[in-house]
Amino acid sequence: MELLPTIWFIAIAVLWTGYLFLEGFDLGVGMLMKGFARNNTERRVLLNTIGPVWDGNEVWLLTAGGATFAAFPLWYASLFSALYLPLLLVLVALIFRAVAFEYRGKVDNPRWRARWDWAISLGSLLAAFGVGAALGLTTTGLPLNANGDREGGPFAWFSAYAVLGGLAVVGFSLLHGLAFLALKTDGDVRHRARKWFVRLLPVLLLPIAGWAVSLQLLSGEAWTVAAVAAAVVAAVLAWNFARTGAEGRAFLSLGTFLLLGSASIFGAAFPVVLPSTLNPEFNLTVSNASSSDYTLGLMTVVACIGLPLVLAYQAWTYWVFRRRVSGDHIPEAHSFLPAIAAKALAPKD
């Protein structure tokens, strides 16, 4: 087993876990804009819990993608090209969602807001599903030929694992979003979020548990099976903490569940990074898909400097905006008169 490629496999697993941990709750909060939030003030409370941080969270996705390109170019090339259409859907969802955050409040008009609300909630749902499907498939396999290219047409990637992975990330994100809202808001939203969390936890964690267990059956090892068991304990703890009103502990327990679940999934997949369902000889592995030791060494140095810094200043951001948000904190929406009449650019006075 080679050292540097293994380190980078772990690094990429860490980046994906960081992405799911951080963007997980803002995807969940985004989905909850419809169905959970009851009026415009509640929607704005939801948005402002993630307002200062969602963009920084999304960079974890870009970093996971970029690190995969740098450390395992063959994994990156095969996975992204095989999943062409689902990733297109993820891109469009993320584009609309990002623009919606910024533009929703820029015009004081209910129809305008309603459209962007749909963009946020559908965008969050589809992005979570697509990323989940991609992650599910990279652990369970795609119909790849000897060159690593997809055989069988644009939809050959489709399988039960794609759906399972998609639902896993959607379910986890929703639950994580509820835990985050219980922790970051006050008043009615806070209590409702906690109530929903307790009630929905078993359902929402079912798909991710299904994914983790399937991987144990496919290629599990003793320690990854133990991680699954520990993850179940963490989920039960999260449920119990939420029930008794310990929102911070519930959030952290759910985070621990993710860490353990993710470790069990990536650990069981190792050393294969992307299996071929056509022929095991075509599997992309930690050793045959990686960059040279020189490049991996360089990236290791950069990551050892960069990643702790990122964690430090992102943690500081959460500290700066640590206060709970409630309806009382939301400023009035302001409509403004144009200082200048629209006709100014018209041909004549």
């Binding site: 970029g66 090339a77 062409y84 950069v302 629209a342």
Partner: protein
Amino acid sequence: MDALEIARWQFGITTVYHFMMVPLTIGLGLVVAVIQTMWHRTGRPEYLRMTKFWGKLFLINFIMGVATGIVQEFQFGMAWSEYSRFVGDVFGAPLAMEALLAFFVESTFLGLWIFGWKQLKPAIHLACLWIAVIGSVFSAYFIIVANSWMQHPVGVEMIDGRPVMTDAWAVFTNNTALVAVPHTIFGALAVAGAFLLGIAWYHLWRRRHDGIDTLGADGKVVPGESAIPGRDRTDHAVWIRSLRIGAVVAMISFAGTAITGDLQGKLMFEQQPMKMAAAEAACHDGTGFSILSIGNLGSKNCDDIVAVIEVPGILSFLAKGDFTTEVKGVNSLIDQYKADYGTHLPDNPIYGERAGQEIQYVPVMEVTYWGFRMMIGFGGLAAVAALAALWLTRNGTVPASRGLMRLAVFGILAPFGANAAGWIFTEMGRQPFVVAPNPDPSGIDQVFMFTAAAVSPGVSAGELLTSLVVLTVVYAVLLVVEVKLLVKYIRGGVAAAMPELAHAPADENEDATPKGGGPGKPGDDVLAFAY
């Protein structure tokens, strides 16, 4: 169109579009950071208003750059998997570093700046903006390092048919990148300069038009007040200062792009001689620079092109810094390229139906010739306009002419055009290569890749067409939305970015003075900024 052509159109459209937003983000970010620094130092209300107004427009635009940037990173793997496999060992590293060392900084500290007006001490709040802006400059550096490696591969060895990085220092200090980075930053500042100039001109013109500002007996402006929130005397200072900052930035950045562009040109004559020859439509060896060439630029044998106006010596000056060195033309370069890199694409399945075809070494000359001239033309035009603007506003306001106002507003587009033309020129001028060979004899001239070999073999033309259509439509819709919002907030003036002006204009300064503030004040419970 086959898969390759669709993939190229998609990359072109998404990149040019992304690079509409990016230069405004980089340039305006730097300008807003400078303005907020001036407010921090002087405490003068016009600087606060400028920070808020230009900051608002900055954010409306910034988000579009973020949203369209993700497409760029995913696209390499999705549509260009063979390219990604070939270059991954060296090209992936700057992309990963861009995310890890630049995007995190940019997004996190910008979030702190947007939402942190009350939570952070003024100096720290200002520092957050500077850190975010410096992050965006670093992101430009990393992505240009990656792009420059495609123009001029260095720091690698061919091992098992793939370039493997052996010298990171060479890759990250590639001379192509070292001149392209400042060229790009100056290009971004040119966009910001014209943006400030045009919009400030419009507001000054409107203040005169509405009779708020008048001219005194000495011909100097007499700023006035109006009942509309935000349109007081300070408002005049906001716009005249913005206009002058914009004009100065536009002129400095044109000088910067000219100097760095000249250095780039000289490197390009060495590194990609065909690209420069095609930029000049210079068919035959010589020293003359074409001011106007007519004839069929698209013809591949070059014989139909007639240089109508040609200045002897200038081409040599651009290439070598003297007036006599013969510069190789397209015709002699073709033979050299054929000898070095082959006459036909290899019979390799990777080239699909293009396997065995003759290689076309001359880029599309209509694009390179006119792209090069549009870049310089639009850039120069903006600089001349900026100089004229300073002269025309010497009495403290703009002339009452509506036509001049429109010219200033539409002039905002010129540096955007120059940026787009420059990138289209340099990317299409590199064809037929996606990774251009490095002709330096000491170098690694077997490290190159034809664009025809780069596309994803497993992805169908139908999939590519789907994404081309979807992304183009989404981008077009969002462009309309962005421009509408920008126009709305531009028309709204400072009051649109500072609702507090409408509610309590007298408190404006007291409420947000850099030295005052702090927790415990009434109204502190409401967020300073909220979505």
